[in-house]
């Protein structure tokens, strides 16, 4: 920072992180709460909008980048994590936040999720989990309960147990794992802040009701309860998950390790590299 303009400290409130786009979301969608908490967290962290990038896939929840004033990339379905990894690795000075839904992240993008956990690129991953595909009008997702018959695509239920994203993240060695609820704004903003500040891959499952296709999720308000206490002991974290009813909130696991860095070498100029092709006699 050298110019006078740059030295001026901008004090931005959370509203400064909200764009003037009107979200496509249904009134009452849990994702509004996520947007509010996120803009609060960014303001609290005094981030500069130009140095933040929100990367998303496809889904109702994945629309979130354009509703903020930071840089955004609304890519294709399921690929937010690799997009974000490419950006975060090549521009390590940026704050990179990947977001999306449970379908985007655990179904079509499930493989990337596993590898993002173990790769540990320095970025945050916020998943708005509503146990349904909202955007395509209400099909079962990987986190949908087995006996949910609300979809015409699986009218007799899914016949499969739901995935447990936190278990998956822990098994795949994510170093920061948390759960929050979109309707608990203060706790959500606090956990987001912690996740963004974390040096490494920080995953937050955010229970975010879809009031249109899962109206019964309005009842989540009564079911969520704080309970996780951050540990760096995997066994303890697995034990906590064994007791978990799916509605425990808080930071489950926090075990920092050096974040992913691609190979680095002594700098060499291109001419030197080209010389290596020369025929030697």
């Amino acid at each position: 920072m050298n110019s006078a303009v740059e030295q001026q400290i901008r004090i931005l409130g959370h509203k400064d992180f909200k764009s003037d786009y009107k979200p496509v979301w249904c009134a009452g969608c849990g994702d509004f709460g996520v947007l509010n908490a996120l803009t609060k967290a960014m303001a609290a962290l005094e981030l500069e909008p130009e140095n933040v990038a929100m990367i998303a896939g496809i889904g109702c929840s994945s629309r979130i980048p354009a509703y903020t004033t930071v840089y955004g990339f609304h890519g294709v379905h399921g690929r937010a994590l690799p997009l974000a990894a490419g950006l975060a690795v090549s521009r390590p000075e940026l704050t990179v936040i990947a977001t999306g839904g449970d379908g985007d992240g655990f179904s079509i993008g499930g493989n990337h999720f596993l590898h993002a956990c173990r790769r540990n690129v320095n970025m945050t991953y916020l998943v708005m989990d509503n146990s349904v595909y909202g955007m395509t009008k209400g099909q079962a997702s990987p986190t949908t309960e087995r006996d949910w018959t609300g979809s015409r695509l699986s009218p007799q239920g899914t016949h499969q147990p739901p995935l447990q994203p936190l278990e998956l993240a822990l098994a795949a060695r994510a170093p920061f794992i948390a759960r929050a609820f979109s309707n608990s704004p203060n706790e959500l903003a606090r956990i987001m802040t912690e996740a963004i500040e974390f040096d490494g891959f920080a995953f937050v499952q955010i229970l975010s009701p879809c009031i249109t296709f899962r109206p019964e999720q309005l009842g989540w308000k009564k079911r969520v309860h704080e309970g996780f206490e951050a540990t760096n002991d995997r066994a303890a974290a697995f034990a906590a998950l064994a007791e978990d009813d799916g509605f425990t909130t808080g930071v489950l696991y926090r075990a920092p390790r050096p974040h992913f860095q691609p190979d680095q070498r002594e700098p060499v100029d291109i001419e030197t590299i080209e010389k290596r092709f020369e025929v030697r006699s």
Binding site: P49, I55, R79, L83, S90, D263, I273, V279
Partner: protein
Amino acid sequence: MNKTSDTTKDLSLALVGSGGAGVMTAGQTLLDAAAASGYYGLMTRATGPQIRGGEAAAILRLSGEPVECQDDRLDLLVALDWNKAERFADELILDAESLVIADPGQGEVPAWVGESGARLVEVPFDALTKEVRGARANTIAVGLVGQLIGLKGTDVEATVGRILENKGAKLIEAALAGLKLGRTAVDDLPQRQGLAGQPDQAEPRWLITGNDAAGLGAVRGGVRFCAAYPITPSTEIQEWLAAHLPELGGKLIQAEDELASINMCLGASFGGTPAMTATSGPGFSLMVEALGLATQAEIPVVVVDVMRGGPSTGIPTRSEQSDLDIAVHGAHGDAPRLVLAPNSIGDCVTTTQWAVHLAEALQCPAVVLSDQRLGQARAAIDPPPQCDWQANRKLATDELEDYRRFADTDDGVSPMALPGTAGGEYTATGLSHMESARPSASGMDHQRQLDKRRRKLEQFHFGDDWADIDGDGELVVLTWGSTTLPAREAVARMRSRGHAIRLISIRLLSPLNTEVLTEALASCRQLLIVEQSHGGQFHRYLRSRIELPDDTHLLARPGPLNIGPGDIVTAIENLDLEKVA
């Protein structure tokens, strides 16, 4: 090879043996030693499907003049053993003028060799290894062939020393003794076939593979990020970049799959870092959705597709030009993109560099169609020319009041704001959008951005490099990519017989320069299209874009057998052309 003299300026030879016999190392040693002695040369590999072991053939052509294509026949075949060598019968063509050197203790001479009329000489390589502790049959063969074709013994020894550099003094000593055994064994041979003359090397020549060349072209153009998932025959590009990007301050990630690798590249490029990935057909198929995103969101990216036999897993280790369709048309929606093809090993540098420059200038994806024939061949060539094609993206850096990422500019290219630039914040999107990047389903916005994206490709001045056009004549041979190599040689042969032929090799396949191509074909009376695909993809593509002459012929053949110069000569002869003396 000219049998009446002792020397020839051009020599084709192959070494065969089972896996572990070390024919590839032997072949590379001979190529490198010949290069050190001042010759041009080329080595291609043919292997069985086994990962390790299994029959293998190293095919070389050495010459006093530039060569990048194998001849139709062999002057010399050296067999360390005959294990399953018959699977190379279609490829290793022998005749009465060929010399075959084989170990009599290592299996029966296969029928195709026996029936060729080639002269057979026995050298007991394996028995010779007993004479020196630690000597190997392949090294003895190198010593023998080197001597036979007239390579300087010191060049061969120095090359072997370099290849074994880290293997310890004992091994090198044994290898040098093996070379000597081989050299002495030549004295018992009835026939000598030496390479003529040693051309001057004004500038030191290069030893390079097409895949390494593509990697070099990428970094020359400014690529500083690569994400990749291994796939034959493109992996060497990824490995080359893994070794060299970090030296240039660049970064490489091994991705979990090609969906990830292409998207990682898009993420890096969104952040302003020129990015590339390399893959082959199956991986390219997985990247198609993301390439559409790159078109819609106007993110530069380069994908080198080193083509192999397809569809599906196809023939992973052999060449084909059958990804043209997917490269040009593989996208949903109207998604024009750049498609380029190198037409020599050295051109893998230049065309990849150009692709980086174009993708960055036009903010769109560029596909480079190399193939196994170019990518995995190693050649001694003149250094590829230096050119100043650089990544030079039009950026939005100031006056960002009311910034519109997809502003409808005259040339269709809109200044791009990179993260970190205050005032430029926007959300890149695969949704149809307005100039501001705000998603829109309006027909007007959709049309406007489609028009803009088409216009930027149509209005760009690509210059003369869109094709290599060589010579004049009413007969035109039209090809692209690696089949240009045999086409050049076939045309040269026909010209030396007095025929006037024009050769056109298209480097920029999309957008196709239809106007200039039509002009170049204006005086064409007979057209021969040459391509290595079963479906005639190139021919169909051309037909869809321009009016072809009535008298158009097609030589289209799938892999795995590469189209050779002789195939093209025969095709030309069959056109009934009149000799224009």
